[in-house]
Assembly symmetry: C2
Homo-oligomer: 372 residues x 2
Amino acid sequence: MSAVRASIPTGEHTAVPHAQPRPTSRDVARAAGVSQATVSLVLRGKWHGRVAPGTAETVRAAARELGYRPNVAARDLRLGRRRTVLLVVPALTNEFFARVYTGAARAAAERDVGVVLYPSPEGLGPARDPFESARATLDGVIASSMAPHALAALHDGGLPLVMLDSSPEDTPAAATVNLDLADGMRQVAAHLLGLGHRHLAHLTAGVESWTFALRARALDATLASAPGVRLTRVPAAELSVTGGLRTAERLLGGEPRPTAVVCDDDLLAAGACKAARRLGLRVPEDVSVTGCDDLSLATAVEPELTTVRLPAEDFGAAGMRALLAVLDAHPADTRPLPVRLLPRASSGPAPRTGGTAAPGAAPRSGGAAGRS
Amino acid sequence: MSAVRASIPTGEHTAVPHAQPRPTSRDVARAAGVSQATVSLVLRGKWHGRVAPGTAETVRAAARELGYRPNVAARDLRLGRRRTVLLVVPALTNEFFARVYTGAARAAAERDVGVVLYPSPEGLGPARDPFESARATLDGVIASSMAPHALAALHDGGLPLVMLDSSPEDTPAAATVNLDLADGMRQVAAHLLGLGHRHLAHLTAGVESWTFALRARALDATLASAPGVRLTRVPAAELSVTGGLRTAERLLGGEPRPTAVVCDDDLLAAGACKAARRLGLRVPEDVSVTGCDDLSLATAVEPELTTVRLPAEDFGAAGMRALLAVLDAHPADTRPLPVRLLPRASSGPAPRTGGTAAPGAAPRSGGAAGRS
DNA sequence: TGCCGAAGGTTATACGTAAAACTGATGCCT
DNA sequence: AGGCATCAGTTTTACGTATAACCTTCGGCA
């Protein structure tokens, strides 16, 4: 029934033809019996002392009556602004990045800024260069987990750039906003050491990236101060449940077997749990597993995952605020966002009869992270 | 150092008036020694027979040299087109909708159309009107799972509207694009009946919505032709793992206990599996569980979920193509998209000694969902 | 009385682009 | 020789908005 107006049947292959002719500010002016300038003044709220209150109300009523909405293209053209930023994320289907987007979009909306989303350079096909086509319209870019060459392409555009979870040094970005994942790793390590684990495995993302390198360093540093603790580091075949499963299967099938597996991601942790079960190991009685992110997956699986909760929405919002600050030539707040370990069911005391028990040294005295 | 000079005024006038001095087509014209019109002609590719090849090449070189990118606002203003559509989804953090978006965005990109995402009426705060926050004038709207009042608000905008997964009749939409979930339900029912189940439970989304009503009807219809089959229908407390867990706990704790639980969503199915385990029931030996969507969650949990795979990306793409067809006054393809049951580990033969059937046989032989 | 300054508007203009309408200069046909 | 098509461009205009610059009335006041 909806009266969708037939488009102009010219042979022209218009991508998207005119829909209904929308009322312009001039139409509103005509209806209210004033000039177009007055309409603009009133509707932009800059009329105090320049337009009589009664006239202003008349204009507003006319606009409402006609269902007037300003033409954004015309406004942006006139103001020479774009009020739009690009957010580049590896994949929206990863819940973490969906949450980052949500937070960023909300923070942007507060400042009346739009967000264009690129769900990865590959996401829209390699033929379309998102940066090329989008650059013309953007004020700035927030990028997450970019490969160096893509990053360089972004910077070539001369657009203000904010990087998420990247090295503050090695980047051409105007600012970086990070999560305090080093501290997260410290919390995980303290948690597991406190539970008596002495042989940890670190199931890494298997991706070359600053964040993941940072976590590895933080874990190493924490364990360095705990004597007699062994660490096995293994890169996952793929950053997915399946990848975690495959790699953890090898890891937990070998000897000596670690009593706890620290994973860089909840997906990997879920995979590790599956691997343990397939090998006949119980979680957490035989092996503890920890994840990172606190995806909804973490509480969907059995047992529920001990994990590091990342404030994804806040992270996106902080990135957006940093970019807007940069655009306003203000200093951006680049303090790392705090993260928190959420102990749940997938981690527990180290088994008494560890398959790896270091001979000689009594595992008793070294209990560093002693809970009082 | 990137000299960042762009500025988005903070609501009041800021001293810094404009963004970076970006070259215009006039600058290109000056550099190439031609008029602005010629630049436009050449760069839009409409110069054949109107501009000499040598001149065209000169223009292109000048544009490249200056790093010229057309001003999208000006172009859109001139062409009176918007080349942007709004996609409304309940929540991006739901992987299904993230995939719908991805597919829609890809289909849009093929036609040089942009997508503005509106992650639920609640997503950006209730005060914000979707049209206002869409930082573009829109050509049309694709909406998914809308409450009737929100839907009416959308339609008031007078924009061409395509609905996803909605009744073709009761909607003001110009077109609807659906998944063939009735057939999906039929496949699930056939699968479970084939495995010998005679007491099914239907754990519904607990949301009033056309799709879910459709599934219930389809399940009823299929079971009607199977004599002696009992169906218990229970609405979930909430469309989430926790909701599924809570409701399934009551469902599986009662008597007589169903031997299979058909869930409207993978989240519910995951919750049902957790509930079964907490009650000491094995899946699928004691109770079979099926889901819907085939989220990545489905293969992350143990056992992996038998589920109905929905082609989410195709769905989004089909919605976008339907909208673009409507805008072109072409007929939209509104055939429902086929879905497919993926039998995995969470469903198996009905137990011999069902709580509802005659006792006698040993629950031994179960294990693999051995089906030829 | 004459002048000033507000109040309450209006007119005119610019933003960058696309494209319609126009202009010269050729070359070719009859 | 005259006319006309063709080529290779240029001038001009319009899109809808925001705002600077410009007009009228007034009332007040020295």
